[in-house]
Symmetry: C2
Amino acid sequence: MKGISIKDIAKQAGVSPTTVSFVLNGKAKEKRISEQVSKKILKLAAKLKYKPNQLARGLRTGKTKTIGLIVEDIANNFFANVAKIVEEEADKFGYKVLYGSTEDNLAKAKGLLEVLEYRQVDGYIITPTPNLDKEIEMLKNARKPMVLMDRYLPQIPTNYVMVDNFQGGYDVAEYLLKLGYSKIALVTTTSEQIQMKERLNGFTAAMKAHQANFPRKMLKKIPFSGTREQAVDQISDFIKTIPDLDAIFFATNYLGVYGIESIKQLGMTIGEDIALVSFDDHDLFRLHTPSITCVAQPIHDIARNLIQVLMNELNDNNHQLNQVVLPATLIKRESCSKRVKVVAG
Amino acid sequence: MKGISIKDIAKQAGVSPTTVSFVLNGKAKEKRISEQVSKKILKLAAKLKYKPNQLARGLRTGKTKTIGLIVEDIANNFFANVAKIVEEEADKFGYKVLYGSTEDNLAKAKGLLEVLEYRQVDGYIITPTPNLDKEIEMLKNARKPMVLMDRYLPQIPTNYVMVDNFQGGYDVAEYLLKLGYSKIALVTTTSEQIQMKERLNGFTAAMKAHQANFPRKMLKKIPFSGTREQAVDQISDFIKTIPDLDAIFFATNYLGVYGIESIKQLGMTIGEDIALVSFDDHDLFRLHTPSITCVAQPIHDIARNLIQVLMNELNDNNHQLNQVVLPATLIKRESCSKRVKVVAG
DNA sequence: CTGAAAGCGCTTACAG
DNA sequence: CTGAAAGCGCTTACAG
């Protein structure tokens, strides 16, 4: 299956490969190739269905027109949706996407970065795992086009595209308090990553602003590494320790899903016995009975901004940082509708 | 950022690039390179963190160690999960995955195939859209390593990995009939694709085998192309036309999700007013109240088989067809538990 | 046991 | 207005 090459066209057109290359790369004008020759070459290329060999081009130019996308888990709703749009947007600029999932595991992330370097991707979209600082620093020093997503590393100034996690957390607490809930728990991950911290910070800031109590025992952290069953059990156990609990906020989508499972397991009814809010939207949340209140991320905007920022880097080698923070949206549903009191003050 | 090349190592080791290449490609023995030289080169490569330039290698060998994965929709639960495992499995063999979503649209599929050819992927995993026959035929004739997933093209013998759709459909009908349901509707897509046909065929075969009625008006086909809202409305309208309907089977996951929405919209209660079964499993089905009975596909097995079959092709240029059909599993949940009668016979 | 040389298919600086 | 030539970093047939 040898494809047809620039040489073949050159031979048939009776010109040199150089001329063909110029014409095919749109440099006919610039290189002052005659209209005739130019047209002949273009026609021939179309007729022969010429497709430039990307490897050869890449070897010569050092560009592969490929970007690497590192997500936490491509099977997770949020990341799958972002990945899909990233791919579509990248395609508009002629870029293809190589992706991989870290499972939030440092070793996996390092492995993926190595493969992507090896593959000579032109740019990176990275969901950093904990302790990936050194690798990010290296990419940055090498001036590789790069943008972080979902979270960033506070010690290293880089491009990133994020949702406003603080505001998301704040809105949830405020909303629950206004509805009259007072014993509110928060379930998050053990990870110290900035996005989870900010959700917690926003939440506690709102509690404080409204003079609500949020003692340490109302906060539960679940490790990413465990199995689903373990996580569900841990959440169940946690809920049991707080007998008068009346609302619970899960700081990320999969924890929200686990939480629903835990509550079901305990024989409690969401919206009746306990109010529930989760970060991230999900079909499950929309269609659950009762439907689940959540903080939705603007997935399209996130993906579009990621590509936008990366393309800026790729083209201009723009050295101004682009740090995009997009608003989160509280979507009010039935899971918090038991008692609608107005709080004094 | 020029990487270090085989030449650099050769210079430092005081040997030729040829020797370095042999050693690094594990041909030291075969080419009878001395132990000493071999060791020196290996050490040097490790010390300099040599990474072969894949472009140059690919240009020379014609292999990119990349496979193309074409799915219907990477944001769909089923495909996202398969994609994740495909990527992990491919990685074990040193292959990376380029992916794209067709939205079941022929033009998009053609576009993706063109890009993948352009990118010189070594092999293809394809979820064919309708009317993709010509392109698949061409790949086949070009003897490109290829395996189809989720469906195949009956007119073209190719490798494929599928679930047993007929059996899945059969089991659902039989199960519902045994529970005592008799007015059972089926909602599928307008597509004439084999996987959807087989689910329908299995379903009708079971109905027939049990002398149950399945008139044409109990079958509804929804186009893939519409919006979610349109589909939900069409399903609602359909359900309304059959006043004594007592069970409904959705032949694919997203239709099942839409169906739940439709039924909710109509104010009916799943498991009480109507039994519901969907093809494919989903968090939503597992955690819905009531939980939703479904036909689960063996996602891990599917992904592993896909890579297995493709690797066979890639390595042996094995020309025997591999057509793998994996069993579907009926997962019984609460959505069909209203009346548990035993049918006579 | 090891090396010089050709060639994969492009792009581009240089020359005319 | 157009072309000859070098070179990107590998692999491999050929030679010794």
